[in-house]
C-alpha cells in the first residue's frame, strides 16, 4: 500500500533534504494520544462490516426473482383451478369470437334473443358431419297455439361452387314447396363462393324446412330463436275491442242528434281519429299474426376451404398446466409493468438526488481548494 511511486529525479536533492528533516511528534502529544487511545474499546464489528453485501446481492437477486415467478405460478394455479372455461378468459373469449365469425367454428347461440335454444345437434355441426335427423331433433318445435316469432340461422358448407349453385336453388324450392317464399338471395361465386338466403316458411312446416336445409351441406353453425308474440297480440286485440266500443258510442251520439254545432264538429273529429287509430291497430295485429305465421330462416352457404379448416379452427382448450403458465406469464408481465412504472416514477427523484449530491460535493471541493490555497 505504502509503496512509494517514483518522484522525478530532478527533485531528488530537495526530497532527500525534506526526508532528512522528518517531523516527530513531541512526547507530550504522544502521551495525550495514548490517553485517548486507552479510552477506546474494542469495537464490535458493525452489521455492515459483518455482512458481505456482494454475497447478499448474489443470493438475494435470484431468490427475489424465484419468489416473483413462484408467486405468479401459485396465483396462476389457484386462479385456474377447476374452472376451465370460466377462467380461460381471454383465450376462451377469443375462441368464442372466432367461432362467431368463422364459418367453420362451433355453433354459438345468440344471447340477445328472448328465447335461446341450445340444440344438442351443435356437436354434430361442429364436427362437420351432415346433420340430417340430428339437426331436426336439435330445433325447437313451434310454440303450439301461441303466436311466436320463430327465427332460424344456419351456416352450411358445401363442397364446390357447382354445389353452391345447386343447393341455393334447392333451398328456395324447399321454402316454396312448404308454402313459404324467398325474401332475398345474395349469391357470389368468385374465389370462394357464398350465398345468403332469407326465407319465410310457415311455422307449421318449419321443422320440415330445417330438415330439408340440413341436407344441403355440412352444418357449420345453427342458431334458433323463439320470441313469444302472444302477449303483444292479445294486447292489440284488446285495444281494438276498446276502440270499436268507443267508435260505436260516438256513432250513437252522432245519430241521436241535438248537438250544438261546436259539439257536433268535435265529435266528428274524434270519430275520424278513432277510425284511423282502429285501422292502424288492425294492420299491426295482422302484421303480428303474419309474423307469427311464418318463420324466418336465414341460410348462409359457403364453399369449403380445406386448408383454412385447420388454420381457422379455435385452439383446443389448454390443460391446467397450460392455463397456469399462461396466468403466470400474465402476472409476471403485470409485475414487469409495475416495475417499469415504479422506475419511471422514481427516476426523476433519483436524478434530483444525484444532482444534489454532485452539487454538494462540487461546492465542498471548491471550498476545500480555496482553504488550501492559502499559505501559512
Amino acid at each position: 500500500m505504502s509503496r512509494p511511486d517514483t518522484i522525478d529525479e530532478r527533485f531528488d536533492e530537495i526530497v532527500r533534504e525534506l526526508r532528512a528533516g522528518r517531523v516527530a511528534a513531541p512526547p507530550e502529544l504522544r502521551g495525550r494520544v495514548r490517553e485517548i487511545a486507552a479510552t477506546a474499546r474494542a469495537p464490535r464489528p458493525s452489521f455492515v462490516e459483518r455482512v458481505a453485501w456482494q454475497r447478499v446481492a448474489l443470493v438475494a437477486t435470484p431468490v427475489c426473482l424465484t419468489a416473483f415467478v413462484a408467486a405468479a405460478m401459485v396465483q396462476g394455479l389457484v386462479s385456474t383451478g377447476g374452472k376451465k372455461t370460466a377462467t380461460w378468459g381471454a383465450a376462451a373469449g377469443q375462441a368464442r369470437r372466432e367461432a362467431a365469425t368463422s364459418p367453420r367454428a362451433a355453433p354459438v347461440f345468440s344471447r340477445d334473443r328472448p328465447a335461446i335454444l341450445a340444440p344438442r345437434g351443435s356437436v354434430d355441426a361442429r364436427k362437420g358431419s351432415p346433420a340430417g335427423g340430428k339437426a331436426l331433433s336439435a330445433t325447437a318445435p313451434p310454440a303450439g297455439n301461441r303466436l311466436a316469432d320463430y327465427r332460424v340461422q344456419m351456416h352450411l358448407r358445401v363442397r364446390s361452387t357447382d354445389d353452391l349453385s345447386k343447393e341455393t336453388v334447392r333451398a328456395m324450392r324447399i321454402a316454396r314447396r312448404l308454402g313459404g317464399y324467398v325474401v332475398s338471395v345474395r349469391y357470389g361465386a368468385a374465389r370462394r363462393g357464398d350465398a345468403t338466403l332469407l326465407l319465410r316458411v310457415p311455422v307449421g312446416h318449419v321443422q320440415r324446412a330445417i330438415l330439408g336445409f340440413s341436407g344441403l351441406g355440412t352444418i357449420v353453425s345453427q342458431r334458433v330463436s323463439l320470441t313469444d308474440l302472444q302477449g303483444a297480440y292479445n294486447h292489440q286485440v284488446e285495444q281494438i275491442g276498446k276502440l270499436r266500443t268507443q267508435i260505436a258510442r260516438s256513432q250513437r251520439r252522432l245519430d241521436a242528434g241535438g248537438l250544438s254545432s261546436v259539439d257536433l264538429a268535435r265529435l266528428q273529429d274524434q270519430l275520424a281519429y278513432e277510425k284511423t287509430e282502429l285501422l292502424a291497430l288492425v294492420q299491426t295485429k295482422q302484421a303480428t299474426h303474419q309474423r307469427a305465421r311464418l318463420a324466418t330462416a336465414r341460410l348462409t352457404l359457403v364453399t369449403a376451404k380445406p386448408k383454412a379448416h385447420h388454420e381457422g379452427a379455435p385452439p383446443p382448450p389448454p390443460g391446467r398446466v397450460g392455463r397456469a403458465l399462461h396466468e403466470s406469464g400474465r402476472i409476471l408481465a403485470k409485475e414487469l409493468v409495475w416495475g417499469i412504472y415504479a422506475s419511471i416514477v422514481a427516476a426523476p427523484l433519483l436524478v434530483l438526488a444525484l444532482v444534489g449530491f454532485a452539487g454538494t460535493r462540487t461546492s465542498r471541493r471548491r471550498t476545500e481548494r480555496r482553504l488550501l490555497a492559502r499559505s501559512a
Binding site: 500500500m1 505504502s2 509503496r3 512509494p4 511511486d5 518522484i7 522525478d8 530532478r10 527533485f11 530537495i14 526530497v15 533534504e17 525534506l18 526526508r19 532528512a20 528533516g21 522528518r22 517531523v23 516527530a24 511528534a25 513531541p26 507530550e28 502529544l29 504522544r30 495525550r32 494520544v33 495514548r34 485517548i36 487511545a37 486507552a38 479510552t39 477506546a40 474494542a42 469495537p43 464490535r44 464489528p45 458493525s46 462490516e49 471541493r365 471550498t367 476545500e368 481548494r369 482553504l371 488550501l372 490555497a373 492559502r374 499559505s375 501559512a376
Partner: protein
C-alpha cells in the same frame, strides 16, 4: 475445499482489526507530520493531531480495513479535522475584520522541523497549504500515488501534477532564498 477454507481464513486474518492503541502508536508521527505540513504551524498541528485521534477513536468502529489501510484512514480523518479548523479560522477572521484590523502574520512561529535549512524552511512556508499537503503525503509519508490521491479526493494524475508543481515551486524558492 480445505484450500478454499484456508484461503478465506488468511483473507480474514489479513484484514483483521488491530487495537486502536497500537494503530495510534504506529501512525502518530505520520499524522503529526502531515498536519504540520498542512497547517504550517507545529503548535496548531499538535492540537489538531490530538483532535484527530479523538475523532478517530470515536469513529474507530466505522473503520473498514478492507477498504483502506489504517494510515490512509487516519490521514483522511486528519484532513477533515484540519479543514474544519481552517473553516473555523476563516469565520473567526471574517468576524474580527469587522471590528478590528487584521492581525499581523506571526513572524515568530516555530519552525516546521529543526532539521530544515533556513532557505528550505522559508520556501516551505511560502507554499500554499495544498502544495505542502501533497509534499507531506508523497514525500514525507511516502504514500503511493493512488493512496495519496484517495486522501486528497482527486485523481492520481491530478495528484502527480500537483506534486510536480509543488516541488518545482519549492526548488525555485529554495534557489532564490539561497541566492538572496
Amino acid at each position: 475445499m480445505h484450500a478454499v477454507e484456508s484461503l478465506r481464513r488468511d483473507r480474514r486474518a489479513g484484514v483483521e482489526r488491530r487495537s486502536f492503541a497500537s494503530v495510534a502508536e504506529e501512525h502518530l508521527d505520520d499524522v503529526h507530520a502531515y498536519l504540520v505540513y498542512l497547517t504550517g504551524d507545529p503548535i496548531v498541528a499538535e492540537e489538531l493531531t490530538a483532535e484527530t485521534f479523538e475523532r478517530a477513536c470515536r469513529r474507530w468502529k466505522t473503520f473498514d480495513p478492507r477498504r483502506a489501510g489504517a494510515r490512509t484512514w487516519l490521514c483522511q480523518v486528519a484532513r477533515s479535522t484540519a479543514l474544519d479548523h481552517f473553516r473555523a479560522e476563516e469565520r473567526r477572521r471574517r468576524r474580527e475584520d469587522v471590528y478590528a484590523l487584521r492581525e499581523p502574520s506571526r513572524s515568530g512561529a516555530p519552525a516546521l522541523s529543526e532539521g530544515f535549512s533556513p532557505p528550505l524552511e522559508s520556501a516551505l512556508r511560502s507554499l500554499s497549504a495544498g502544495e505542502r499537503e501533497v509534499i507531506a503525503l508523497r514525500v514525507i509519508l511516502e504514500l503511493d500515488g493512488e493512496t495519496a490521491a484517495r486522501v486528497l479526493g482527486i485523481s492520481q494524475t491530478a495528484c502527480s501534477t500537483r506534486l510536480s508543481r509543488a516541488l518545482q515551486k519549492l526548488g525555485e524558492k529554495v534557489s532564490s532564498n539561497v541566492a538572496a
